[in-house]
Subunit: 373 residues, 2 copies
């Protein structure tokens, strides 16, 4: 079938050329006579793939040697548990900034883990979110003295809120520069140049911008993870994983190889600067279609916090939203339904979503509004 335009929230679109390269080499990887799936994770062929993948992440982020790159499993949800397991000593506090559904999930899981460890969690700030309007300005409490980390979420895929985009709301960092910052960057990692200098540990599930589900990238200051409370089980210890080169357990080999290919593609796009410019144009095009629709499409997020990754909006009625989705599907545009917890429409514009697709979509949006407005 002809390729559809996939605006799904993740797992999301991947570059067509990468899919074709991976398919072509799947039965016989690099003329080794076997699939990358069949290579030992300890063998030369895969070790080269693994190291190149980590090196590409370093290169694309211009990461200094003070930082470690880990490739782990379990996605962001596993990180929600792993962060407190590693850093919450007895009596310590994990502080959370809750800007949407994912920040909320991180906080809840943090609380479960804290209870096991004799530690606790605190909500430091929340955004004011209701059905009609999402306000990015926080009431920000001072973190407690025994705060082990402040946890942020750089992009809220469900609520369509993003921090630190060009001319946008900055990341809500704590004013006390001694408090370590942990950041869930799952849905905007490597989508533009990003300054990680104030972040002690960032993590990102690969399935949004850089690869398949089943792989999570962790970028952390070596000093931070070496000083961890180390009460975590080995498989869930950043320090143990760092020491064993992310191979305490067998890595998801094919997922790593696919990610390597996506990162090579990303380099060809001009790296994060190149893709960032494209992503910025895509978002401008999409939000313009919303703002110029004379209120037919309504985005509930304040302009400065609107996500360049996930644009969420509503139509005048739920019936029109259903019609929008089915008409779009007939024009080969899929993955546009809002998250089941909030409804409405969501347009995810991850790295592999082309400018052409976004133009096609806005043309469709204009025509749909003209027909039903």
């Amino acid at each position: 079938m002809a390729r559809v335009m996939n605006f799904g929230g993740g797992p999301g679109a991947l570059p067509r050329c990468v899919l074709e390269q991976v398919a072509a080499e799947l039965p016989d990887f690099a003329s080794t006579g076997m699939s990358i799936l069949e290579h030992s994770h300890r063998g030369t062929a895969f070790e080269r793939v693994f190291e190149e993948t980590r090196a590409l992440i370093r290169e694309l982020l211009a990461l200094p040697d003070t930082h470690e790159v880990l490739l782990l499993q379990g996605g962001a949800s596993m990180q929600f548990a792993m962060v407190p397991l590693n850093f919450l000593a007895r009596g310590a506090v994990g502080a959370y900034v809750v800007g949407g559904a994912w920040g909320e999930k991180a906080f809840e899981e943090g609380g479960r883990v804290a209870a096991i460890l004799g530690a606790s969690t605190q909500v430091l700030a929340t955004s004011k979110a209701n059905a009609d309007y999402v306000e990015p300005v926080y009431t920000y409490d001072a973190p407690l003295g025994n705060t082990a980390y402040v946890h942020l979420t750089s992009n809220e895929t469900i609520h369509g809120i993003e921090y630190d985009k060009p001319e946008g709301v900055p990341l809500p960092l704590p004013s006390d520069s001694n408090v370590p910052v942990v950041c869930d960057m799952s849905s905007n990692f490597l989508a533009r140049p990003q300054d990680l200098s104030r972040i002690s540990l960032a993590y990102a599930g690969a399935q949004k911008n850089i690869g398949p589900s089943g792989l999570v990238v962790v970028v952390a200051q070596k000093q931070f993870i070496d000083a961890a409370a180390t009460r975590a089980p080995n498989a869930l210890s950043y320090a143990v994983q760092a020491k064993s080169g992310s191979m305490y357990n067998t890595p998801p080999t094919l997922a790593v190889e696919i990610t390597r290919r996506v990162l090579l593609w990303l380099r060809e796009q001009g790296g994060v600067a190149g893709i960032g410019a494209v992503n910025h144009r895509k978002a401008r095009t999409l939000y313009r279609a919303i703002d110029e629709s004379k209120g037919f499409y309504r985005c509930p997020v304040a302009t400065a916090a609107r996500s360049e990754m996930n644009a969420v909006f509503r139509l005048p009625t739920p019936a029109l939203e259903q019609l929008f989705l089915s008409d779009a599907a007939r024009e080969q545009m899929v993955g546009l339904a809002g998250h089941r917890s909030v409804g409405g429409i969501r347009v995810s514009m991850y790295n592999a979503v082309s400018e052409l697709w976004v133009s096609e979509l806005t043309r469709f949006m204009d025509a749909f509004a003209a027909r039903h407005g």
Copy 2:
């Protein structure tokens, strides 16, 4: 390049036809216009894949409704932590039968987790393993009264010891039938008919017999996981994962699809009965070559405990072992080096390793012994 014969310990060989099917459908899954990698894990296309995979495991194991099938991440190593996290209430004991390196790892990780939870672990039995001879008979202590589970390892890939094979040493089950049994079946899961009726929870990393790394299958009595201590973080809670259909976190979608294809292939081989007969013949052929070599090849494992999955043996000198490996590689036979912790030779004969490959290998072994014996 021509396909090599891959006897690697895992990730191991996969059926050629499966690799070709997956490659052919990688850019466009089931004529949906996108890759299985790009489908949402909540969408119809992937949900069908997911449910068929779980149904195939049920069918192949003839599993009753009392059991749950979970598809998780992190491999057996993550299970080493997840089992005690779920089942060790404060003061409880996790008891371990240690028959080799993997049982030892499970015990060590269990101890780390127990310390966090205010619980403890106990070694219930060990096999007598030394460089020259591995004895499968145990000194088996009675489990303590507050034992939450006994943990077994059904096949030790590094030491080449297997339980419960035809006419072999039975699984070292505790005599007290009230004590729940947890079993790491990573390296012989679905390799022959297996009776799980006495096992409360079994787990298996997919990368040996049934799929790629990055996926672990858990088969558990519903009653057992529902009664768990529930102090585990959500992502690591069997009950939470069961309730959310193994989708508390995004599953490794491509790994699941590849596993589905391998399971369909397994069904075509006559299911576990069919593949079990093949695996039995492969092992007989291989061990015969060892035993008829007049001592040139020496397997340190007692006959009744010799693994049908991983045959380990030594040659008269380390130099001859190196020569064996390089000569074999020249004949396109790879993955034969013993685990780096023990050295020697290891022949892994997982489901996708054909009888023809094993015959070729034994022909090579006979010729090598004749040249150097």
